[in-house]
Protein backbone atom coordinates (compact mmCIF):
# COMPACT_ATOMS: atom_id res chain seq x y z
CA UNK A 1 0.00 0.00 0.00
CA UNK A 2 2.84 2.40 0.87
CA UNK A 3 4.51 1.62 -2.42
CA UNK A 4 1.32 2.16 -4.34
CA UNK A 5 0.55 5.52 -2.71
CA UNK A 6 4.15 6.61 -3.31
CA UNK A 7 3.73 5.59 -6.92
CA UNK A 8 0.46 7.53 -7.03
CA UNK A 9 2.11 10.67 -5.66
CA UNK A 10 4.98 10.36 -8.10
CA UNK A 11 2.84 9.59 -11.07
CA UNK A 12 0.21 12.29 -10.36
CA UNK A 13 2.65 14.83 -11.82
CA UNK A 14 3.17 13.03 -15.12
CA UNK A 15 0.26 10.64 -15.65
CA UNK A 16 -3.17 11.48 -16.94
CA UNK A 17 -5.96 11.57 -14.42
CA UNK A 18 -7.61 8.23 -15.34
CA UNK A 19 -4.40 6.28 -14.63
CA UNK A 20 -4.33 7.81 -11.16
CA UNK A 21 -7.98 6.87 -10.71
CA UNK A 22 -7.24 3.25 -11.66
CA UNK A 23 -4.31 3.24 -9.20
CA UNK A 24 -6.62 4.64 -6.52
CA UNK A 25 -9.05 1.81 -7.18
CA UNK A 26 -6.28 -0.76 -6.87
CA UNK A 27 -5.09 0.82 -3.61
CA UNK A 28 -8.63 0.86 -2.24
CA UNK A 29 -9.18 -2.77 -3.16
CA UNK A 30 -5.94 -3.93 -1.51
CA UNK A 31 -6.69 -1.79 1.54
CA UNK A 32 -10.18 -3.33 1.81
CA UNK A 33 -8.86 -6.86 1.44
CA UNK A 34 -6.32 -6.20 4.17
CA UNK A 35 -9.03 -5.15 6.63
CA UNK A 36 -11.85 -7.42 5.58
CA UNK A 37 -10.51 -10.14 3.34
CA UNK A 38 -13.03 -11.85 1.08
CA UNK A 39 -14.19 -15.34 2.00
CA UNK A 40 -12.12 -16.95 -0.73
CA UNK A 41 -8.90 -15.46 0.64
CA UNK A 42 -9.69 -16.47 4.22
CA UNK A 43 -10.29 -19.98 2.93
CA UNK A 44 -6.93 -19.97 1.25
CA UNK A 45 -5.04 -18.56 4.22
CA UNK A 46 -6.66 -21.07 6.60
CA UNK A 47 -6.09 -24.05 4.33
CA UNK A 48 -2.82 -25.23 5.99
CA UNK A 49 -4.45 -24.93 9.44
CA UNK A 50 -7.47 -26.92 8.28
CA UNK A 51 -5.22 -29.61 6.89
CA UNK A 52 -3.30 -29.73 10.14
CA UNK A 53 -6.47 -30.16 12.21
CA UNK A 54 -7.83 -32.75 9.81
CA UNK A 55 -4.56 -34.69 10.10
CA UNK A 56 -4.79 -34.45 13.90
CA UNK A 57 -8.34 -35.76 13.85
CA UNK A 58 -7.66 -38.66 11.51
CA UNK A 59 -4.65 -39.60 13.63
CA UNK A 60 -6.86 -39.53 16.69
CA UNK A 61 -9.47 -42.02 15.48
CA UNK A 62 -6.86 -44.77 15.30
CA UNK A 63 -5.88 -44.38 18.97
CA UNK A 64 -7.10 -47.16 21.27
CA UNK A 65 -5.56 -46.15 24.60
CA UNK A 66 -5.43 -42.85 26.47
CA UNK A 67 -1.63 -42.74 26.04
CA UNK A 68 -2.03 -43.16 22.27
CA UNK A 69 -4.61 -40.37 22.17
CA UNK A 70 -2.05 -38.09 23.83
CA UNK A 71 0.85 -39.25 21.66
CA UNK A 72 -1.12 -38.70 18.46
CA UNK A 73 -2.79 -35.39 19.27
CA UNK A 74 -0.29 -33.44 21.37
CA UNK A 75 2.25 -32.80 18.55
CA UNK A 76 -0.58 -31.29 16.48
CA UNK A 77 -1.68 -29.11 19.40
CA UNK A 78 1.85 -27.83 19.93
CA UNK A 79 2.43 -27.20 16.22
CA UNK A 80 -0.94 -25.53 15.78
CA UNK A 81 -0.45 -22.84 18.40
CA UNK A 82 3.36 -22.76 18.33
CA UNK A 83 3.45 -23.70 22.01
CA UNK A 84 6.43 -25.04 23.97
CA UNK A 85 4.69 -28.21 24.95
CA UNK A 86 1.41 -29.86 25.84
CA UNK A 87 0.32 -32.66 28.14
CA UNK A 88 -2.67 -34.83 28.85
CA UNK A 89 -3.47 -35.43 32.51
CA UNK A 90 -5.75 -38.03 34.07
CA UNK A 91 -8.27 -37.36 36.84
CA UNK A 92 -5.55 -37.74 39.49
CA UNK A 93 -3.42 -35.13 37.68
CA UNK A 94 -0.87 -37.74 36.61
CA UNK A 95 0.61 -37.28 33.14
CA UNK A 96 -0.87 -39.72 30.59
CA UNK A 97 1.18 -38.31 27.70
CA UNK A 98 3.25 -35.22 27.01
CA UNK A 99 5.00 -33.55 24.10
CA UNK A 100 7.63 -30.80 24.02
CA UNK A 101 8.60 -28.88 27.16
CA UNK A 102 6.08 -29.07 29.94
CA UNK A 103 8.36 -28.27 32.88
CA UNK A 104 7.38 -24.65 32.91
CA UNK A 105 9.07 -21.86 34.79
CA UNK A 106 6.35 -20.25 36.93
CA UNK A 107 7.90 -16.81 36.45
CA UNK A 108 7.84 -17.02 32.72
CA UNK A 109 4.90 -19.08 31.74
CA UNK A 110 1.73 -19.01 29.82
CA UNK A 111 -0.48 -21.98 30.53
CA UNK A 112 -3.88 -22.90 29.19
CA UNK A 113 -5.84 -25.69 30.84
CA UNK A 114 -8.88 -27.36 29.27
CA UNK A 115 -10.83 -29.64 31.60
CA UNK A 116 -12.03 -32.92 30.14
CA UNK A 117 -15.39 -34.53 30.88
CA UNK A 118 -13.56 -37.73 31.73
CA UNK A 119 -12.00 -35.92 34.69
CA UNK A 120 -8.52 -35.13 33.34
CA UNK A 121 -7.23 -32.09 31.46
CA UNK A 122 -5.46 -31.01 28.29
CA UNK A 123 -2.79 -28.45 29.22
CA UNK A 124 -0.81 -26.31 26.76
CA UNK A 125 2.39 -24.60 27.87
CA UNK A 126 4.13 -21.61 26.38
CA UNK A 127 6.14 -18.63 27.65
CA UNK A 128 5.83 -14.89 27.45
CA UNK A 129 8.13 -14.78 24.40
CA UNK A 130 5.67 -16.78 22.37
CA UNK A 131 2.38 -15.18 23.32
CA UNK A 132 0.28 -17.30 21.06
CA UNK A 133 -2.55 -18.02 23.40
CA UNK A 134 -4.93 -15.47 22.15
CA UNK A 135 -7.57 -14.68 19.62
CA UNK A 136 -8.95 -17.50 17.62
CA UNK A 137 -6.46 -20.12 18.87
CA UNK A 138 -8.30 -20.70 22.13
CA UNK A 139 -11.58 -21.93 20.62
CA UNK A 140 -9.58 -24.27 18.37
CA UNK A 141 -7.71 -25.63 21.37
CA UNK A 142 -11.07 -26.11 23.07
CA UNK A 143 -12.22 -28.20 20.13
CA UNK A 144 -9.00 -30.25 20.38
CA UNK A 145 -9.95 -30.87 24.01
CA UNK A 146 -13.47 -31.93 22.95
CA UNK A 147 -11.96 -34.43 20.53
CA UNK A 148 -9.77 -35.80 23.27
CA UNK A 149 -12.93 -36.39 25.30
CA UNK A 150 -14.56 -38.25 22.41
CA UNK A 151 -11.42 -40.28 21.76
CA UNK A 152 -11.06 -41.20 25.44
CA UNK A 153 -14.71 -42.31 25.54
CA UNK A 154 -14.03 -44.51 22.54
CA UNK A 155 -10.89 -45.92 24.18
CA UNK A 156 -12.92 -46.81 27.28
CA UNK A 157 -15.49 -48.69 25.24
CA UNK A 158 -12.74 -50.56 23.34
CA UNK A 159 -11.15 -51.47 26.68
CA UNK A 160 -14.53 -52.77 27.93
CA UNK A 161 -14.93 -54.92 24.83
CA UNK A 162 -11.41 -56.32 25.17
CA UNK A 163 -12.09 -57.09 28.82
CA UNK A 164 -15.32 -58.85 27.81
CA UNK A 165 -13.49 -61.03 25.28
CA UNK A 166 -10.75 -61.82 27.77
CA UNK A 167 -13.35 -62.73 30.43
CA UNK A 168 -15.23 -64.95 28.00
CA UNK A 169 -12.01 -66.77 27.08
CA UNK A 170 -11.15 -67.10 30.76
CA UNK A 171 -14.55 -68.65 31.53
CA UNK A 172 -14.07 -71.16 28.72
CA UNK A 173 -10.69 -72.27 30.00
CA UNK A 174 -11.99 -74.21 33.00
CA UNK A 175 -14.44 -76.46 31.12
CA UNK A 176 -11.86 -76.80 28.34
CA UNK A 177 -9.17 -77.86 30.81
CA UNK A 178 -11.42 -80.66 32.07
CA UNK A 179 -12.59 -81.67 28.61
CA UNK A 180 -9.13 -81.81 27.05
CA UNK A 181 -7.61 -83.40 30.15
CA UNK A 182 -10.10 -86.29 30.24
CA UNK A 183 -10.14 -86.63 26.45
CA UNK A 184 -6.32 -86.90 26.29
CA UNK A 185 -6.31 -89.50 29.05
CA UNK A 186 -9.01 -91.55 27.33
CA UNK A 187 -7.25 -91.27 24.00
CA UNK A 188 -3.80 -92.31 25.21
CA UNK A 189 -4.16 -94.18 28.50
CA UNK A 190 -7.52 -95.85 28.43
CA UNK A 191 -5.87 -99.27 28.81
CA UNK A 192 -4.50 -98.18 32.18
CA UNK A 193 -7.86 -96.86 33.42
CA UNK A 194 -10.42 -98.83 35.42
CA UNK A 195 -13.99 -99.16 34.18
CA UNK A 196 -15.06 -96.71 36.88
CA UNK A 197 -12.40 -94.15 35.95
CA UNK A 198 -13.53 -94.28 32.33
CA UNK A 199 -17.13 -93.73 33.45
CA UNK A 200 -16.43 -90.75 35.68
CA UNK A 201 -14.23 -89.22 32.97
CA UNK A 202 -16.98 -89.51 30.40
CA UNK A 203 -19.58 -88.08 32.80
CA UNK A 204 -17.30 -85.15 33.64
CA UNK A 205 -16.75 -84.52 29.92
CA UNK A 206 -20.50 -84.36 29.33
CA UNK A 207 -20.89 -81.97 32.30
CA UNK A 208 -18.10 -79.67 31.18
CA UNK A 209 -19.22 -79.84 27.57
CA UNK A 210 -22.68 -78.67 28.71
CA UNK A 211 -21.08 -75.88 30.67
CA UNK A 212 -19.04 -74.68 27.69
CA UNK A 213 -22.14 -74.90 25.48
CA UNK A 214 -24.15 -72.88 28.02
CA UNK A 215 -21.49 -70.18 28.03
CA UNK A 216 -21.31 -70.03 24.24
CA UNK A 217 -25.13 -69.87 24.00
CA UNK A 218 -25.16 -67.02 26.50
CA UNK A 219 -22.48 -65.16 24.55
CA UNK A 220 -24.50 -65.55 21.35
CA UNK A 221 -27.70 -64.43 23.11
CA UNK A 222 -25.99 -61.33 24.43
CA UNK A 223 -24.55 -60.44 21.05
CA UNK A 224 -27.94 -60.96 19.41
CA UNK A 225 -29.81 -58.79 21.93
CA UNK A 226 -27.15 -56.07 21.73
CA UNK A 227 -27.38 -55.97 17.95
CA UNK A 228 -31.14 -55.71 18.28
CA UNK A 229 -31.41 -58.90 16.23
CA UNK A 230 -33.36 -60.91 18.80
CA UNK A 231 -37.07 -61.03 18.12
CA UNK A 232 -39.35 -60.51 21.13
CA UNK A 233 -42.95 -61.65 20.79
CA UNK A 234 -45.67 -59.72 22.58
CA UNK A 235 -47.95 -62.33 24.12
CA UNK A 236 -50.30 -62.44 27.06
CA UNK A 237 -48.57 -64.78 29.51
CA UNK A 238 -50.23 -66.38 32.54
CA UNK A 239 -47.48 -65.96 35.13
CA UNK A 240 -48.30 -68.91 37.45
CA UNK A 241 -48.17 -71.34 34.51
CA UNK A 242 -44.94 -69.85 33.20
CA UNK A 243 -43.21 -70.16 36.57
CA UNK A 244 -44.41 -73.75 36.88
CA UNK A 245 -42.95 -74.54 33.44
CA UNK A 246 -39.69 -72.78 34.38
CA UNK A 247 -39.37 -74.92 37.50
CA UNK A 248 -40.03 -78.06 35.49
CA UNK A 249 -37.12 -76.92 33.34
CA UNK A 250 -34.89 -76.14 36.32
CA UNK A 251 -36.04 -78.38 39.18
CA UNK A 252 -34.73 -77.75 42.68
CA UNK A 253 -31.66 -79.88 43.47
CA UNK A 254 -31.58 -82.00 46.62
CA UNK A 255 -31.63 -79.88 49.74
CA UNK A 256 -33.32 -76.89 48.07
CA UNK A 257 -37.03 -76.08 48.10
CA UNK A 258 -38.93 -73.59 45.99
CA UNK A 259 -42.20 -72.13 47.26
CA UNK A 260 -44.34 -70.34 44.71
CA UNK A 261 -47.01 -67.79 45.66
CA UNK A 262 -48.54 -66.40 42.51
CA UNK A 263 -52.25 -65.54 42.52
CA UNK A 264 -54.16 -67.07 39.62
CA UNK A 265 -55.02 -64.60 36.91
CA UNK A 266 -51.81 -62.52 37.09
CA UNK A 267 -50.93 -61.96 33.45
CA UNK A 268 -48.08 -60.08 31.83
CA UNK A 269 -47.42 -58.91 28.29
CA UNK A 270 -44.13 -60.51 27.32
CA UNK A 271 -42.33 -63.05 25.17
CA UNK A 272 -43.03 -66.26 27.10
CA UNK A 273 -39.86 -68.13 26.03
CA UNK A 274 -37.60 -65.19 26.94
CA UNK A 275 -39.40 -64.53 30.22
CA UNK A 276 -38.97 -68.20 31.07
CA UNK A 277 -35.24 -67.80 30.37
CA UNK A 278 -35.15 -64.97 32.96
CA UNK A 279 -37.03 -67.01 35.61
CA UNK A 280 -34.87 -70.12 34.99
CA UNK A 281 -31.73 -67.98 35.26
CA UNK A 282 -32.76 -66.38 38.54
CA UNK A 283 -33.92 -69.65 40.09
CA UNK A 284 -30.74 -71.44 38.98
CA UNK A 285 -28.68 -68.61 40.50
CA UNK A 286 -30.55 -69.11 43.78
CA UNK A 287 -29.75 -72.86 43.64
CA UNK A 288 -26.09 -72.11 42.97
CA UNK A 289 -25.36 -69.22 45.27
CA UNK A 290 -28.36 -68.87 47.60
CA UNK A 291 -29.77 -70.56 50.68
CA UNK A 292 -31.88 -73.72 50.85
CA UNK A 293 -35.29 -71.99 50.89
CA UNK A 294 -36.27 -70.17 47.74
CA UNK A 295 -39.51 -68.27 47.18
CA UNK A 296 -41.13 -66.95 44.01
CA UNK A 297 -43.83 -64.34 44.64
CA UNK A 298 -45.79 -62.12 42.30
CA UNK A 299 -48.27 -59.29 42.70
CA UNK A 300 -49.76 -56.43 40.74
CA UNK A 301 -48.63 -53.09 42.18
CA UNK A 302 -50.64 -49.86 42.44
CA UNK A 303 -49.28 -48.67 39.07
CA UNK A 304 -50.63 -51.77 37.37
CA UNK A 305 -47.22 -53.40 36.91
CA UNK A 306 -46.58 -57.03 37.67
CA UNK A 307 -43.81 -57.43 40.26
CA UNK A 308 -42.13 -60.84 40.46
CA UNK A 309 -39.78 -61.52 43.38
CA UNK A 310 -37.32 -64.38 43.56
CA UNK A 311 -35.68 -64.60 46.98
CA UNK A 312 -33.60 -66.98 49.02
CA UNK A 313 -32.35 -67.20 52.61
CA UNK A 314 -28.65 -67.52 51.79
CA UNK A 315 -25.78 -65.13 52.39
CA UNK A 316 -26.91 -62.63 49.75
CA UNK A 317 -24.65 -60.90 47.26
CA UNK A 318 -21.35 -59.44 48.55
CA UNK A 319 -21.87 -55.70 49.13
CA UNK A 320 -19.03 -54.62 46.82
CA UNK A 321 -20.44 -56.71 44.01
CA UNK A 322 -23.97 -55.26 44.14
CA UNK A 323 -23.28 -52.14 42.01
CA UNK A 324 -21.87 -54.30 39.17
CA UNK A 325 -24.22 -57.24 39.56
CA UNK A 326 -25.93 -56.92 36.19
CA UNK A 327 -22.75 -56.33 34.22
CA UNK A 328 -21.24 -59.20 32.23
CA UNK A 329 -18.80 -61.36 34.23
CA UNK A 330 -19.42 -59.28 37.33
CA UNK A 331 -19.56 -62.26 39.63
CA UNK A 332 -17.04 -62.45 42.38
CA UNK A 333 -14.02 -64.02 40.71
CA UNK A 334 -13.13 -65.66 43.99
CA UNK A 335 -16.47 -67.39 44.34
CA UNK A 336 -16.60 -70.84 42.92
CA UNK A 337 -19.45 -71.43 40.58
CA UNK A 338 -20.18 -73.11 37.36
CA UNK A 339 -22.22 -70.20 36.03
CA UNK A 340 -21.16 -68.40 32.88
CA UNK A 341 -21.05 -64.97 34.53
CA UNK A 342 -23.49 -63.71 31.91
CA UNK A 343 -26.84 -64.85 33.31
CA UNK A 344 -27.81 -61.65 35.13
CA UNK A 345 -26.56 -59.43 32.30
CA UNK A 346 -28.83 -61.36 29.93
CA UNK A 347 -31.74 -61.17 32.40
CA UNK A 348 -31.40 -57.41 32.43
CA UNK A 349 -31.19 -57.17 28.65
CA UNK A 350 -34.30 -59.33 28.26
CA UNK A 351 -36.41 -57.55 30.91
CA UNK A 352 -35.47 -54.18 29.41
CA UNK A 353 -36.41 -55.41 25.95
CA UNK A 354 -39.76 -56.57 27.37
CA UNK A 355 -40.40 -53.07 28.73
CA UNK A 356 -39.63 -54.04 32.31
CA UNK A 357 -36.87 -53.73 34.88
CA UNK A 358 -34.83 -56.02 37.11
CA UNK A 359 -33.29 -54.96 40.41
CA UNK A 360 -31.45 -56.54 43.30
CA UNK A 361 -32.32 -56.07 46.92
CA UNK A 362 -30.93 -57.85 49.93
CA UNK A 363 -33.54 -59.35 52.23
CA UNK A 364 -33.51 -58.90 55.98
CA UNK A 365 -31.77 -60.39 57.85
CA UNK A 366 -30.02 -62.17 55.01
CA UNK A 367 -30.46 -63.55 51.53
CA UNK A 368 -30.81 -62.27 48.00
CA UNK A 369 -33.96 -60.90 46.36
CA UNK A 370 -34.32 -60.19 42.67
CA UNK A 371 -37.31 -58.09 41.63
CA UNK A 372 -38.56 -58.23 38.04
CA UNK A 373 -41.19 -55.65 37.09
CA UNK A 374 -43.16 -56.14 33.89
CA UNK A 375 -46.09 -54.47 32.18
CA UNK A 376 -49.41 -56.14 33.04
CA UNK A 377 -51.41 -57.56 30.16
CA UNK A 378 -54.58 -55.53 29.74
Amino acid sequence: LVLLSALRRQSSAQQPNHVIQVLDLVVAAIFYMGLAPPHMLIERWRQPEREATRAAFSDLVSAVTAAEVGAKLLPHVVAYVGAQGAALYDRDDDVIASYGTIQRDPQDADVLRFSLRSGGALVVYSNSYSPLFGGDKVPVLQSFADWVDLALGRCASIARERQFISNAAHELRTPLASLTGFASLLATERHKMSEEEVDVSLQAMVRQGDRARGLVNNLLDMAQIERGAMHFASEVVELAGLVEESLAHAPAPTGRTVEVHIPAGVRVRADSARLQQVIVNLVTNAYRYGGPEITVDAKVDELGRVVVEIADDGAGVAVDLVPHLFQPFARDLRSSGSGSGLGLAICRQITNALGGTITYDSTKPSGARFVVTLPEAA
Partner: protein, 125 residues
Protein backbone atom coordinates in the same frame (compact mmCIF):
# COMPACT_ATOMS: atom_id res chain seq x y z
CA UNK B 1 5.22 -93.46 45.88
CA UNK B 2 5.36 -89.67 45.80
CA UNK B 3 2.25 -87.89 46.96
CA UNK B 4 0.82 -84.74 45.36
CA UNK B 5 -1.71 -82.37 46.95
CA UNK B 6 -4.10 -81.01 44.30
CA UNK B 7 -5.81 -77.73 45.27
CA UNK B 8 -8.72 -76.51 43.12
CA UNK B 9 -12.28 -75.47 43.90
CA UNK B 10 -13.65 -77.13 40.73
CA UNK B 11 -14.35 -80.82 41.44
CA UNK B 12 -13.96 -81.79 37.76
CA UNK B 13 -10.55 -80.09 37.53
CA UNK B 14 -9.43 -81.90 40.71
CA UNK B 15 -10.64 -85.16 39.21
CA UNK B 16 -8.80 -84.51 35.91
CA UNK B 17 -5.56 -83.73 37.72
CA UNK B 18 -6.01 -86.68 40.07
CA UNK B 19 -6.36 -89.09 37.14
CA UNK B 20 -3.49 -87.51 35.21
CA UNK B 21 -1.20 -87.90 38.22
CA UNK B 22 -2.46 -91.30 39.41
CA UNK B 23 -1.93 -92.79 35.96
CA UNK B 24 1.62 -91.44 36.08
CA UNK B 25 2.22 -93.30 39.35
CA UNK B 26 1.57 -90.60 41.95
CA UNK B 27 -0.66 -90.78 45.00
CA UNK B 28 -3.04 -87.81 45.16
CA UNK B 29 -4.82 -85.94 47.95
CA UNK B 30 -7.28 -83.15 47.22
CA UNK B 31 -8.16 -79.80 48.79
CA UNK B 32 -11.08 -77.65 47.64
CA UNK B 33 -10.04 -74.42 49.37
CA UNK B 34 -6.98 -72.48 50.43
CA UNK B 35 -7.59 -73.15 54.12
CA UNK B 36 -7.88 -76.87 53.53
CA UNK B 37 -4.71 -76.74 51.39
CA UNK B 38 -2.62 -75.23 54.20
CA UNK B 39 -4.05 -77.81 56.61
CA UNK B 40 -3.31 -80.77 54.31
CA UNK B 41 0.15 -79.42 53.48
CA UNK B 42 1.10 -80.32 57.07
CA UNK B 43 0.78 -84.00 56.09
CA UNK B 44 3.90 -83.46 54.01
CA UNK B 45 3.03 -84.00 50.37
CA UNK B 46 5.96 -84.18 47.91
CA UNK B 47 4.53 -81.35 45.82
CA UNK B 48 1.45 -79.12 45.68
CA UNK B 49 -0.54 -78.26 42.53
CA UNK B 50 -2.19 -74.98 43.50
CA UNK B 51 -5.00 -73.14 41.71
CA UNK B 52 -4.66 -69.36 41.95
CA UNK B 53 -8.40 -68.61 42.00
CA UNK B 54 -9.83 -70.07 45.17
CA UNK B 55 -13.06 -69.21 46.99
CA UNK B 56 -11.68 -68.45 50.45
CA UNK B 57 -8.02 -67.38 50.31
CA UNK B 58 -6.38 -66.20 47.09
CA UNK B 59 -3.95 -68.83 45.76
CA UNK B 60 -1.07 -66.35 45.90
CA UNK B 61 -1.81 -65.79 49.61
CA UNK B 62 -1.84 -69.56 50.16
CA UNK B 63 1.56 -69.69 48.46
CA UNK B 64 2.78 -66.84 50.69
CA UNK B 65 1.52 -68.68 53.79
CA UNK B 66 3.20 -71.95 52.72
CA UNK B 67 6.52 -70.27 51.99
CA UNK B 68 6.33 -68.28 55.22
CA UNK B 69 6.00 -71.39 57.36
CA UNK B 70 9.41 -73.06 57.94
CA UNK B 71 7.77 -76.47 58.24
CA UNK B 72 6.07 -76.13 54.84
CA UNK B 73 8.44 -73.85 52.92
CA UNK B 74 10.38 -76.71 51.34
CA UNK B 75 7.36 -78.32 49.65
CA UNK B 76 7.57 -77.44 45.93
CA UNK B 77 4.45 -75.62 44.69
CA UNK B 78 3.28 -75.62 41.07
CA UNK B 79 0.61 -73.02 40.28
CA UNK B 80 -2.25 -73.96 37.96
CA UNK B 81 -4.52 -71.21 36.77
CA UNK B 82 -6.69 -69.78 34.04
CA UNK B 83 -5.08 -66.38 34.65
CA UNK B 84 -3.28 -65.59 31.45
CA UNK B 85 -1.59 -62.45 32.73
CA UNK B 86 2.18 -62.55 32.92
CA UNK B 87 1.89 -60.49 36.10
CA UNK B 88 0.25 -63.36 38.04
CA UNK B 89 2.90 -65.74 36.74
CA UNK B 90 5.69 -63.36 37.75
CA UNK B 91 4.16 -62.90 41.22
CA UNK B 92 3.79 -66.66 41.72
CA UNK B 93 7.40 -67.30 40.74
CA UNK B 94 8.61 -64.39 42.89
CA UNK B 95 6.77 -65.89 45.87
CA UNK B 96 8.66 -69.13 45.39
CA UNK B 97 6.51 -71.29 43.08
CA UNK B 98 8.66 -73.91 41.35
CA UNK B 99 6.52 -74.02 38.23
CA UNK B 100 3.46 -72.70 36.52
CA UNK B 101 0.84 -74.41 34.34
CA UNK B 102 -1.91 -72.60 32.41
CA UNK B 103 -5.46 -73.93 32.03
CA UNK B 104 -6.37 -75.59 29.72
CA UNK B 105 -3.31 -77.71 30.40
CA UNK B 106 -1.55 -80.40 28.45
CA UNK B 107 -1.37 -83.65 30.45
CA UNK B 108 2.28 -84.23 29.52
CA UNK B 109 3.15 -80.69 30.59
CA UNK B 110 1.44 -81.20 33.98
CA UNK B 111 3.36 -84.42 34.53
CA UNK B 112 6.67 -82.90 33.41
CA UNK B 113 6.32 -79.91 35.76
CA UNK B 114 5.25 -82.16 38.69
CA UNK B 115 8.12 -84.60 37.99
CA UNK B 116 10.58 -81.71 38.00
CA UNK B 117 9.09 -80.32 41.24
CA UNK B 118 9.28 -83.69 43.00
CA UNK B 119 12.91 -84.07 41.88
CA UNK B 120 13.84 -80.70 43.43
CA UNK B 121 12.17 -81.87 46.66
CA UNK B 122 14.12 -85.13 46.69
CA UNK B 123 17.37 -83.38 45.76
CA UNK B 124 16.93 -80.77 48.50
CA UNK B 125 19.09 -81.31 51.62
Amino acid sequence: MSRILVVDDEPDIRMTLRLILQLAGYAVTEAASGGQAIELARDGPDAILLDIRLPDIDGLDVLRALKGDPALATIPVVCVTAHSSGETRRQALALGATGYVNKPFDIDEVRAVVDAAVVTRTAAP
